[in-house]
Symmetry: C2
Subunit: 285 residues, 2 copies
């Protein structure tokens, strides 16, 4: 029924082993496990140094499926929103330096005060801030030829992480923003959506490549933590292969980012985690 | 900006104090706190006895905002699905006996095996089972003049509790099923939805009363448990008064069910919980 996955499409999102290893060690582990793609996080890149990170990634022949992450646009005042746009421009530059396929954006939730607590309940206003911030960064990103991949996050993160929560909402935003804006589809965030198939079909009809990244993990039953209890592929209830078939029917030909935030797996030996990821990827993606 | 709430519209969903008290004690507490409405759960009603529950509720002049709950339609085989329909018919009878404004339905997630674990990843199939089960129960409910209130549940419950996860999906189902089917709007489940306002406006255009119940609590930051960490009104980030204004603009004139699943509040003295509920209701709903 489905196309076979190719090991060439497996990309390691570095969050999966971020507790065990730093970026240098993760790159070495990719080579050791014959992994061809990597999706690094900015804090890890900063720690190793941007140029050094780019050099090692290139040297080891790794493709960068996407840089994680820009976004976090809402802020209580104009200065905060401008600072966010500035930071996103730097993220674009970093993505370019790393040769990333896209810059992944987690757009932010309600605007937060200095204590990290929301200062407003106006989610519609937050969504407007996201739109405005995105439009400004997009102009810069177009100049740098770096596609921006909006990641709709699960509705349980609407208040604190991302107020873009469905593929439909992301598609609406991309239609409005135009050239250079696309979507990162993460199975964890979208598997439940009754409009998932229809909205992926809508992606296929977009004037340019709409799907820029595809992240995989699984939804566990029970899920014991809102943040760090994502599942290894096959341990949960998401029909990953089915969703992959829809993503590919929509024209996506990029890599499959294995991204598992999990205190459970973070406690395991990193090599064991990667071996399991690769095996489950063959079986379930 | 908003109409003032009336104490006459406050209804106590009995889940809020289910750990502290049984139904008999909850009814007494309602009288003590001058609460005019109650939203009981079937297990509590069964414990006290259906006729005795109905008698005490009537005797104390309480309105029943809704009976919680029917639903749970998906099952691995036809026998299981028929048993669910049978159980829902009994729930309709109980709602009639109690004089409830509606029977609230939590429709169920993926079909489960005898061990309570899902036997399938086919969420689209589960949704079909929900539709089919609903259609059968609806026929019976129409005969009994008992409206069925589908409750779209937050997407984080899609696998295990309800695969109807947005107001749009519930509206689609109601349009398809016709007369006698409506919606229970629970702020906890829908506050994040970018289409919330538009779909409530769509409720207003339905040929008959579409909104049959309105449940309130709050979304906490952080939320530490997927099930039992709902917030007291005002402690979270949901703009409850705004959503109430939309619900009322859509024509809803029924009660406001205060329903708080919370291990935190379940540890408190029941009278303290009710006093807080009433005060916060005046302030935030």
């Amino acid at each position: 029924m489905f196309a076979k996955t190719s090991p060439d499409l497996f990309s390691l999102n570095t969050a999966t082993v971020r507790v065990q290893w730093d970026l240098e060690q993760i790159i070495e582990a990719c080579v050791r496990h014959d992994i061809r793609g990597i999706g690094p996080w900015r804090d890890q890149v900063a720690q190793l140094g941007l140029k050094e990170s780019a050099r090692r990634i290139r040297q080891n022949g790794l493709k960068v499926s996407g840089l994680n992450r820009g976004g976090m646009f809402p802020a209580p005042d104009r200065a905060g929103r401008l600072a966010a746009v500035e930071d996103n421009r730097r993220a674009v530059d970093e993505a370019v330096e790393l040769g990333a396929a896209c810059l992944v954006l987690v757009v932010g939730g309600l605007p937060k005060g200095p204590d990290g607590k929301p200062v407003s309940k106006d989610i519609s206003g937050a969504r407007q801030m996201v739109r405005d911030g995105l439009a400004e960064v997009l102009e810069y990103a177009r100049g740098a030829s770096m596609p921006l991949a909006l990641e709709p996050l699960h509705p349980m993160y609407a208040a604190d992480r991302a107020c873009v929560n469905t593929l439909e909402q992301a598609n609406d935003l991309c239609d409005e923003l135009g050239n250079g804006a696309g979507i990162a589809v993460d199975i964890y965030h979208v598997w439940w959506d009754p409009k998932l198939k229809a909205q992926l079909e809508r992606c296929a009809r977009a004037p340019e490549k709409r799907i820029l990244a595809f992240h995989v993990c699984d939804w566990l039953l029970p899920t014991t933590d809102l943040l760090n209890d994502r599942g290894m592929m096959g341990d949960g209830v998401a029909d990953i292969a089915l969703v992959r078939s829809w993503v590919e029917a929509a024209g996506y030909r990029g890599m499959h980012d294995v991204e598992i935030f999990s205190t459970r797996w973070w406690k395991c030996d990193g090599d064991e985690v990667l071996a399991t990821c690769k095996q489950r990827y063959q079986q379930f993606v």
